[in-house]
């Protein structure tokens, strides 16, 4: 069976959607972080697939993916550090805890 | 630089120098003397310069100089937008500048004992006058607008810090309403700018060039005229945008009320004429009826409202609504006589309202009330102020020999000369204000000055001090001068209107 571009794209979009859903519904900050990773990875798939199927002659999408992965890693690291900070402050990783600043 | 050869620029430089001088003074101890000295020097220099300007203008015109604007100089400022520091004066600006100088002079003396923070007070005061003078000497849309706003914003602090009563509310309301007006104005100016020249020629901000090119498409005029007219009309206390005026005046300190009613409100009328009407004659003709109606309402409405007020400043504020309404009303009549009358009315209203506010301030400073129910028989106690008040009142209700009469008559006769029945009916309605004016003026004079002394504590009060006498006498002399020798002023003013009237008639 020949795999066409949509067969990659649909899962990627679903993944992105899952990430968004996860972000919006999870209470745990770590889980939210994971959801964000899902979203970023969905984008990566997009790039790779577009490059591979639509514009096979060049490497731009691939390169972009590499950088995006690196950025995502940096983001995760930073996010974890901050989550630890928050945990130290409120002894919890519940996202609803950090809503003191409002209005 | 060439611009410094033009005496007009010194109308801005002198207040700025005064600002600098004031900045060096201190409030403490004997600093107050230095502050007064600097302020008086600045104000006197302005009066002297204004006198020279009038003299220069009159002799130039007598010598047959026919240019629309005298003392022109252009200095490029913002090249990309063709914004220049363009200076020039015609008869209208000249008398307005003279008026401003006189009121600044009187205002300095009226705020002689300003307390607290005299230095800051005078700083803002002179910043305000910088804006006023800058506005009158400029003929570039952008610089005019800039100076216009420079003149507005000091009001906030002047009222807020040195005012009385519900001052923060009034100051905020006044500032926001006026800034609302200037927001409309800014849009109008931008619109004018983009249509200032015919297709292909460079855009310009110079009002002379715009008027000459007359390139604003008619459809655009229909939008831009109301924007600019209402924009300036807010400051000219046009119904229904006048409500900043009673509260603002009631809360403002004496000199600020003087300057505001005396000069700042004139910016509105002047701007309506110089920008809205001069630049957009077509729309002016088309839309005049709306604004005639509004200003006509202002005239009568203000007068009736003044009849039942009990606060001296409210009475005067409403009376200003009425009188300033008459200015805009006359400007919309599009003939030389009525427009000349409008400028005379600006002069007259400026001087006599300043006089009124000065006197009210002085009375308030003694009695600590402005409620006419709580005062009475002050003529026995402070005859100088009482006589001054009567004179101001007489000027206001149009006694021949004082300025109000001359202005109102020129307006009425001029307005009635318009062929349009609608305008005539409005004129007749407007004339009724002279009776209502008499009613409220005499009411307040009767209650305040005449009759028995209401409050026995008032018997200990003193009459005017020398600086108060100087301040009011200056204004009284000017009011009488316009009233007695009107033709001198008419000659200066009326020449400026002929090209405008011609353009307006051509656009009809």
């Amino acid at each position: 069976m020949e795999l066409n571009v949509l067969m990659y794209l649909v899962p990627a979009i679903v993944m992105f959607g899952c990430g968004v859903y996860g972000f919006l519904t999870r209470k745990n900050m770590i889980a939210i972080m994971i959801s964000l990773e899902l979203m970023l990875n969905a984008v990566d798939i997009n790039f790779v697939v577009f490059n591979r199927y639509l514009f096979p002659g060049q490497m731009e999408g691939m390169m972009f993916t590499l950088f995006a992965i690196a950025i995502a890693a940096a983001e995760t690291a930073l996010a974890l550090a901050i989550i630890i900070n928050v945990f130290r402050a409120v002894r919890n990783v519940d996202i609803s805890e950090i809503s003191k600043l409002k209005f | 630089m060439t611009i410094f050869n033009n005496i007009l620029i010194y109308f801005v430089i002198i207040p700025l120098l005064t600002l600098g001088g004031l900045a060096l003074c201190t409030n403490a101890g004997r600093g107050i003397r230095a502050i007064r000295a600097v302020a008086v020097t600045g104000a006197t220099a302005l009066v002297a310069l204004a006198a020279y300007l009038v003299y220069y203008f009159v002799t130039a015109r007598a010598a047959g100089v026919q240019d629309a604007m005298l003392l022109r100089s252009d200095v490029m400022w913002y090249e990309p937008f063709n914004i220049k520091l363009a200076l020039g004066v015609d008869g209208v600006s000249v008398v307005m500048i003279a008026l401003s100088a006189i009121i600044v002079f009187a205002g300095v003396f009226a705020s002689w004992k300003m307390n607290p923070l005299p230095k800051q007070f005078f700083l803002w005061f002179f910043l305000l006058s910088t804006g006023v003078f800058g506005f009158f000497i400029s003929i570039d849309l952008f610089t005019m607008f800039m100076f216009y706003e420079v003149a507005l914003i000091p009001m906030y602090l002047l009222i807020g810090v040195w005012g009385s009563g519900n001052k923060t509310y009034s100051a905020m309301k006044l500032t926001l309403m006026l800034m609302g007006g200037s927001a409309l104005l800014m849009l109008g100016i931008i619109g004018i700018y983009f249509h200032s020249a015919p297709e292909g020629s460079p855009l310009t901000m110079n009002i002379l060039e715009i008027a000459e090119a007359n390139a604003i498409p008619h459809s655009w005029q229909m939008y831009l005229f109301p924007l600019t007219f209402v924009g300036f009309g807010v400051l000219g206390a046009m119904f229904p945008f006048h409500t900043w005026s009673p509260d603002g005046h009631a809360s403002a300190p004496t000199a600020v009320s003087m300057l505001h009613a005396g000069v700042l409100m004139k910016l509105g009328g002047y701007g309506c004429f110089r920008i809205a009407i001069c630049l957009m004659p077509f729309a002016a003709n088309e839309l005049a009826w709306i604004f005639l109606l509004l200003t006509g309402i202002s005239v009568v409405y203000g007068a009736f409202s003044a009849c039942v007020q009990t606060d001296l400043k409210y009475i005067n504020a409403y009376s200003s609504v009425s009188h300033c309404g008459m200015v805009l009303f006359a400007i919309l009549m599009f003939n030389t006589t009525a427009m000349t009358g409008a400028v005379l009315q600006m002069l007259s209203h400026g001087l006599m309202t300043a006089l009124f506010f000065a006197l009210i301030g002085m009375i308030y400073g003694r009695t600590h009330t402005r409620d006419i129910q709580k005062m009475g028989g002050l003529m026995q106690i402070m005859p100088y102020l009482g006589v001054g008040y009567v004179i101001a009142g007489m000027a206001s209700l149009g006694l021949p020999g004082l300025s109000g009469f001359v202005a109102e008559m020129t307006i009425f006769v001029g307005s009635f000369m318009h062929e349009d029945t609608f305008r005539r009916v409005l004129t007749i309605a407007g004339t009724s204000s002279i009776v209502i004016t008499a009613v409220y003026i005499l009411r307040v004079v009767g209650k305040l000055l005449f009759g028995p002394v209401v409050d026995e504590h008032h018997r200990q009060l003193t009459d005017a001090t020398w600086e108060e006498k100087l301040s009011t006498a200056t204004l009284i002399v000017c009011v009488a001068a316009i009233g007695c020798f009107p033709n001198f002023f008419v000659d200066i003013i009326s020449g400026s209107f002929e090209p405008v009237v011609k353009a307006l008639n051509a656009a009809m």
């Binding site: 639509l54 930073l78 900070n85 402050a89 809503s99 600043l101 | 937008f81 807020g160 619109g191």
Partner: protein, 485 residues
């Protein structure tokens, strides 16, 4: 590889040099001279800024196969950002030597300079990859900076909120870019412009919306703005100051470039309509929130949201005048907002107070601070003769140059909003000059760096508008840069 192309990026190299010097100083200098680090940073950064003022750098050119472009306009905006950063550095000297901060002050400066570097890249990027790298470099360290005051709970909350929303928005942005890539097959701005010019598909419009949302996050356009106030309030004031002006300026500029260059002529009607909606929302909502704020930092956050709306008016013009006005606006905004933050920082450091009510009667005790704050408020409110008036006027003129009636309506709404904004700016002035209070902030002497920064800001506020040469320069630069699009 042709290494000479690095010569095309003198400002970036200069900045990296500064960064390295600071890093070396921080790492290798003995503990006792560490207290001089802030001053050291400020001085060498000031030197760097002064050096890059040399107009010869305006020449520019391209590097990395066209991914990077320097021209007069990028030079100018980078210079503006540098000046702003310099002012922030000056203001932060005293704060960064304070207790609990001083142990990590080196990191503060290094991260700050790194974000600036990211912005430089972002501004000069002509390729989405470089743009994304720049954007992330500019935004991620901010989260760390926001969390800088470990003793304050708000600092953590701010950082967490910032980071989560930032990552989410970058995911959206990347999604948008990936879709653009899928349609155009390239990530070069100029090539994309040609590739997408004929395509009016739903996909591309979605992509455009996502890109706008992604960049709108940085600019804090409504409805992508919700993080702003919380982060501004929670972050250390120096960071807030930096965040409010510098990163906003850079984002606005690159936003203009992306919209004008990638979605250029063919799509201008689409994104202009998007921006109409966003601008109206941004200005209005920002103002409505700002009206009710009592905390000054939060207040300035909302004020900066509505200011972003005005900045967008320069973007919407999408032409040289718009760009010049935008840069001028940013320049003026840098001085005005930093003046306000300088006062807030000084007062907060001295007394720990940040609400408007705390400022009641400030004029009596600290006249100069009150005066500075007042000028800042007037300038932000667009009152002449202060610089804010000029920038506002020019940005309106720039917007109206497109000539459509819709834009006049938009400008009209924006102008009506200036009244509301004036209202709340005057509230601050009122507190300082008019209101009386029993517990006034006592008289104090502000730190040397703060004072210097504030003096510079005041000079800027007063003279930028009056000196027309600045605007003329910007105009020239952007006019020269624009045919390149």
């Amino acid at each position: 590889m042709d290494y000479s192309q690095f010569l095309m990026m003198p400002q970036e190299i200069g900045l990296l040099t500064v960064f390295l010097l600071v890093f070396l100083y921080d790492t290798f200098m003995p503990e006792r001279s560490q207290r001089a680090l802030p001053a050291f940073t400020a001085i060498i950064f000031g030197l760097f800024t002064a050096l890059t003022m040399c107009p010869c750098l305006a020449e520019g050119g391209q590097a990395f196969g066209g991914m990077f472009e320097a021209n007069g306009a990028t030079w100018a905006i980078k210079l503006i950002l540098s000046v702003g950063t310099f002012l922030v550095l000056l203001m932060a000297t005293k704060w960064s030597n304070s207790e609990f901060i001083s142990v990590r002050r080196g990191e503060f400066y290094e991260l700050l300079l790194l974000t600036l570097f990211g912005m430089f890249l972002m501004v000069s990027a002509r390729h989405f990859l470089l743009f994304v790298i720049g954007l992330e470099t500019a935004s991620l360290p901010i989260a760390a900076l926001a969390a800088f005051e470990k003793r304050r709970y708000e600092s953590h909350e701010a950082a967490a909120k910032y980071l989560f929303t930032a990552i989410f928005s970058s995911a959206i942005l990347l999604m948008g870019i990936s879709l653009v890539y899928g349609i155009g097959g390239t990530l070069y701005f100029n090539e994309l412009a040609m590739a997408v010019a004929l395509d009016r598909s739903a996909l591309l419009i979605t992509a455009l919306a996502f890109v706008i949302a992604g960049v709108g996050f940085k600019l804090s356009l409504v409805p992508f703005h919700l993080w702003t106030a919380d982060v501004y309030q929670g972050a250390p004031t120096a960071v807030t100051a930096y965040l409010s002006v510098i990163s906003k300026g850079a984002a606005a500029f690159s936003f203009l470039i992306i919209l004008a260059q990638v979605f250029g002529a063919a799509y201008s009607d689409v994104w202009q309509w998007m921006l109409y909606a966003l601008i109206i929302l941004t200005i209005t909502i920002g103002n409505l929130f700002a009206m009710r704020q009592r905390n000054l930092k939060r207040f300035l956050a909302f004020s900066s949201i509505s200011q972003a709306g005005y900045i967008m008016l320069g973007v919407i013009a999408g032409n040289a005048v718009g760009m010049a006005s935008l840069m001028f606006y940013v320049l003026v905004y840098v001085f005005s907002n930093l003046a306000a933050f300088g006062v807030i920082m000084a007062v907060e450091r001295e007394s720990g107070k940040t609400t408007i009510d705390d400022y009641n009667g400030l004029f009596r005790t600290n006249p100069w601070l009150a005066f500075t704050m007042m000028l800042a408020m007037f300038s932000l409110g667009g009152i002449p003769p202060f610089a804010g008036f000029f920038s506002k006027f020019f940005i309106f003129v720039g917007a109206c140059q497109t000539g459509s009636v819709a834009i006049y309506v938009l400008v009209f709404i924006a102008l009506l909003n200036t009244i509301i904004s004036l209202y709340y700016y005057l509230l601050v002035v009122k507190a300082m000059f008019i209101s009386q209070d029993d517990c006034v902030v006592p008289a104090f002497k502000s730190a040397c760096g703060e004072r210097l920064a504030m003096v510079l800001c005041v000079l800027g506020i007063v003279f930028i508008g009056l000196a027309s040469c600045l605007y003329a320069g910007l105009n020239e630069a952007s006019a020269a840069a624009f045919p390149a699009f």
